[in-house]
Amino acid sequence: MPRATWRIRRAAVVVACYAVLLIVGAGASADNGPHVQGQGLVPDTCAVCHRVHTARAPHLLRTPETDLCYTCHGAAAAGASTDVLDGVGYSSAERTGKPGALRGGGFKYALIDSAASSGQSSGGSDPGGVVPVLASGAPVTSAHSVDASSQIAWGNGPISAEANYGKAISMSCGSCHDPHGNGNYRILRPMPLESGAESGVTIPDAVTKVYTTTNYWDVEDQYAPALITDISAWCATCHTRYLSSTSYTESGDAVFTNRHITSQTTQGSANCIQCHVAHGSNASVEEGLSTGVHSPQGVAAGPGSRLLRIDDKGTCRMCHVEE
């Protein structure tokens, strides 16, 4: 092969490699992939979190995952605009003179005014009923686990005539979120880790991101309509048997036999996040109200809020107006 031709081919390969890197890098940083945005995929960036041969935690992480995430997203949020421990969003665009509230709540505190009567008295799926945000955080009464401890993914698995409540899984931040960015809304994994789902749910990212709200009732997201459309299907990748298109037909499952409709895809309708928050809720539920709750696997019913947004039966009253 002539030397000139060989040089041209070698240059072409190099240019092609750079192009691939640029394309991959741009894709990864387009959805707030937190550790590559603006940096591109270069080894130096990877090394902030990873070690190839001397990692001390799974996924080749230098340190345990949740502690690593909290370094930026924990209290103080020294490297991010979202404090998932306190349920605070710092993005100034949503600030109204007091801390913005993460709509997913927080893992230790949340800012939901879950006792607000104005939210409970609204009916007919009217999101105009305002559930104000607290001026300061209240301790959560229920939350998804992020400390890698084992917990039950309620309803996980197919419809079963034999009593089966779900399966034990280990959860951390990376179970649901992909820290490298993946083009999905809130970098949600199409299939949460250990979910056992056979197919994933893709929720396209929004160009304008809204992580906070001044109104917890308003779970709409005009910037990401796909979130409302697909969020129940996404939650059901783990909580498989909670997904129901009707409230009136028995499922045939020994545990999740009759279920509230959860699959509506329009704004303000019955889907998972209309009633629940994703991270943690500070709502209170009287113990007496949950003593009769069918308690999976013998776990005693307690005052936990089950990630509900509003105190006691307020969540029901958001839609079902009392006469």
């Binding site: 090394a47 902030v48 209290a75 020294a78 490297g79 605070v88 300061s136």
Partner: protein
């Protein structure tokens, strides 16, 4: 050959040396010959020398046991771990009073107080603003004015810098305006040689992140350092005696270095090589040394400053390492150096402040 008289004199001499001579009547003592006098002088001199040597050895032992080192030593390139201060929940920032007798530590969990310790590590008080429960206040970084000894504490959650008197009385809150709207989100704090208060503002997107210089009382903004988009969650700050500014540009993984005019002149960059940074947070200067807390590397990196701000600091080495043992870190964050050279490092996940010294 020894005469009888000389033998008598020698015996008397020995008796005298043994302390017996004191009991003898001086008048009864025989006259000493010149040779005997010389021997006596040599013995006295020898005994005196031994006594002085013994005194020196005893003095050295006593001073060594009392903790101070009277012997000149070769300065070590890196400090060693001395002790820990416990009783802080997820500590983030740390500062030392100019006299070195007080150590201020911010905690980001639990009661979220600023805890005040004496130089021995005993807690002597706490600081908190007048209002706000535990979850609504969030002290992050702390700095002490070298002139007034007032204590300045950044609280991003409250969008404020809280100011306390040296006696711990809450004085006021500073709330500088944000770069585009609202209030600034303060994080890192440091005082310059002219008395100005430097702070990092991480409000809004990275386009709005910046370094602000406030007047000594913090009442007004004097100037802004850094162009739009230059910083990404700047955390710790340090200003040397000439006014050169060192910014831990955390999410960019670098330390940005500015001359007193505010011009970026050099930077220690992110990377995987010796002395490269990962996620720098706290930063401090002592003499010709720059200390950078590299949070995810679980170490403190030490650099030599050349005196010319445009010349990139030379990496000396690092101390720490990941773990829960003595001298090991789990997500260190803040750093401060006292007048006595003691180095204080907040060890967040181990819930302690580590004390190091040379």
């Amino acid at each position: 050959m020894t005469t009888e008289k000389e033998s008598s004199a020698a015996v008397a001499d020995l008796l005298h040396d043994a302390g017996e001579a004191g009991r003898a009547d001086a008048a009864d003592q025989p006259r000493l010959t010149d040779a005997a006098r010389k021997r006596r002088r040599r013995k006295i001199a020898a005994l005196g020398g031994i006594g002085v040597a013994l005194a020196i050895v005893i003095l050295i032992i006593i001073r060594a046991l009392s903790g101070s080192n009277p012997l000149p030593s070769i300065p070590s390139e890196l400090p060693h771990h001395v002790s820990d201060i416990y009783g802080v929940n997820q500590p983030m920032g740390v500062a030392v009073s100019p006299s070195g007798d007080r150590v201020y530590v911010t905690e980001s969990e639990g009661s979220r107080l600023v805890r005040v310790f004496d130089s021995s590590g005993h807690q002597i008080g706490t600081l908190q603003p007048n209002s706000g429960n535990g979850s609504f206040r969030l002290p992050v970084y702390v700095a002490v004015s070298p002139k007034t000894e007032e204590v300045f504490v950044s609280d991003r959650l409250r969008e404020a810098i809280d100011v306390y008197s040296p006696s711990g009385k809450y004085l006021r809150a500073l709330r500088p305006p944000g770069s585009s709207s609202g209030k600034a989100n303060p994080l890192g704090l440091a005082f310059g040689p002219e008395g100005g208060l430097y702070m990092t503002d991480v409000g809004g997107s990275r386009q709005n992140h910046r370094v602000l210089v406030l007047g000594g009382s913090g009442s007004k903004s004097l100037r802004t350092i850094g162009s739009r988009g230059m910083f990404w969650f700047p955390n710790g700050l340090a200003v040397d005696g000439k006014g050169d500014l060192y910014v831990a540009d955390s999410n960019d993984g670098r330390v940005a270095i500015f001359n007193p005019a505010g011009k970026l002149v050099s930077a220690i960059a992110r990377g995987v090589g010796e002395g490269d940074l990962a996620l720098p947070r706290g930063i401090a200067i002592s003499g010709d040394r720059l200390f950078v807390v590299d949070t995810t590397a679980q170490t403190v990196k030490v650099f030599h400053l050349h005196g010319n701000v445009a010349e990139l600091p030379t990496y000396i080495g690092s101390f720490g390492g990941e773990g829960i043992g003595n001298g090991q870190f789990r997500y260190p964050n803040g750093i401060a150096i006292g007048r006595n050279g003691r180095i204080y490092v907040t060890d967040r996940q181990n819930a302690r402040v580590q004390v190091w010294e040379y």
